[in-house]
Symmetry: C2
Subunit: 339 residues, 2 copies
Amino acid sequence: MKQKITLKHIARELSVSISTVSKALKNSEEISKDTKDKIQAFAKLYNYKPNNIAISLKNRRTKNIGVIIPDIVHHFFTTVFRGIENYANAKGYNVILCMSDESFDKEVINMELLANGSIDGFIMALSAETQIKNDYNHLKEVAEQGIPLVLFDRITDEIECDKVVINDMEGAYKAVTKFIEDGRKQIALITTEDYYSVSRERAKGYKQALLDHNLPYRENLVLKLPFMDVDELAINEFLDREKIDAVLCVNEIYAIHSMRHVQSKGLSIPKDISFIGFTDGILSKYSTPGLTAVSQHGEKMGAIAAEMLIEKIESEKEEETYTTTVLDTTIVARGSTNN
Amino acid sequence: MKQKITLKHIARELSVSISTVSKALKNSEEISKDTKDKIQAFAKLYNYKPNNIAISLKNRRTKNIGVIIPDIVHHFFTTVFRGIENYANAKGYNVILCMSDESFDKEVINMELLANGSIDGFIMALSAETQIKNDYNHLKEVAEQGIPLVLFDRITDEIECDKVVINDMEGAYKAVTKFIEDGRKQIALITTEDYYSVSRERAKGYKQALLDHNLPYRENLVLKLPFMDVDELAINEFLDREKIDAVLCVNEIYAIHSMRHVQSKGLSIPKDISFIGFTDGILSKYSTPGLTAVSQHGEKMGAIAAEMLIEKIESEKEEETYTTTVLDTTIVARGSTNN
């Protein structure tokens, strides 16, 4: 990432005082036209943004944080948002939320909309389409302008910024290990295509747990759906076709739908088939039986993301360093598994 | 946070008239290039956002809509939001969301934040605290500044603006009538305190349906909880204490919790006791048995709110007239009632 251009940089480069730079950029009558032209040209060349710099000078912070999430209907993202809000509000920040609806274009439009001076920094989970396109120029641009950015859950290695994720691989590994310890042999995975960073990691954990316990990894026991939406037909067909005694699902809705389907076929949960799902949302708690869940600690994730962002916003440091925080998952045992 | 920069500030700082500033920012031919450059540079530097009045002049639309809802975790509000987004996006508008968290202060802060020029109009459901305080000055101010406003679900008669609600009274009336037709005699209501406009209306419908069918209205069969959050103890105690064969709940979570409680006591649903809940969210669909629901048609409500707002934003009329759209409810029958 390019270093943030500050008044101090400009002053140093052009051998003038910070005050001169500041006045020149305000088009002050006190500064000669020649000096102003030089400073303004330099600022333009290095993509200096008055609002961001003003923000970094602490004299014109908006005290607003922009959050962009793929979807408002999935419980996980709203839980993270709640964690962000609680932390940010306690620190005197407001939070503005925009939805990408899993669309690249909407993600870009929303970033532009918020980056126009309404906010001091971003917290985001990438849209599905952004991960498919693998195009992160809109994020790079924001980062180059010196606007602090924290990615959570759906992240990318392409951008240098603070990140917070759960240990998705470990979460899946723990779930599959629990199935194996409970005596399950035909363990299936219902997941999404690999372009979601989280699905890739969970699939790795699923495979590794099988191999570490000397069970074969069989592709026919892995159902990959193109989207987060429940494709009921594809799931039913998969469950009817394969001989399965345990299912790990990468989200709650897949798991709840699957449980209802096998129950409708007369199977008993967990006797005949057991289930674990990621997220630990409201459906997991209220389904019958309750769904054993890999808790992603969404509220904690949100609080950590907000803490990282606010620290960057308020930091006086010129050299930035970035951290990726990895949260451990927890298995919350309920009636859908032997306990 | 620093004071908002207005046309007046700029005019005073640069010793020009407000009209000159206004024209310069619109790039008018009437103003000399030097003056325009100076004003525009100043405005940019101080992150000037055209004020609300400027927006109402229709010459500087942002194509953004601000939505403020009480809570992101309740399925109903997120469903309405989805309806708003779908309609607004199709019309070329972006949507920004803020949460009041049921707090009056947060509602005011978020309105100020968005009314600073980021958006062309508001869609809101009032926070619980605003309805308790009965203080709507922040809404009046926005309305007076000519910013279009649409209220949905949680509304007030104190503000003249477009509104969209469901026929809450009729929804409760229909639900109770269904219970009576199914032969139920001891029909309870679990609701919130009357400061929620929706709860008041639903309690009216509950009472009217009983009276119209010559059943007594008994206060001991009505449980009023102070908040939307589930007070599990109060609900359990109520259900254990009263002789009840049917329960209407004003939200899904009350109903789901109540069903689980009576099931844990060995009662059979709907044989011993039946349930209807408002909202028809994801929990109603996936509970066991499924919850018969009064559908509030959240997505449709959102689409109508967005349509009303965009019409006002794009209207050239000086005299405004306001409409309240009332949507009929539908009973979605599931396993929690005799069908």
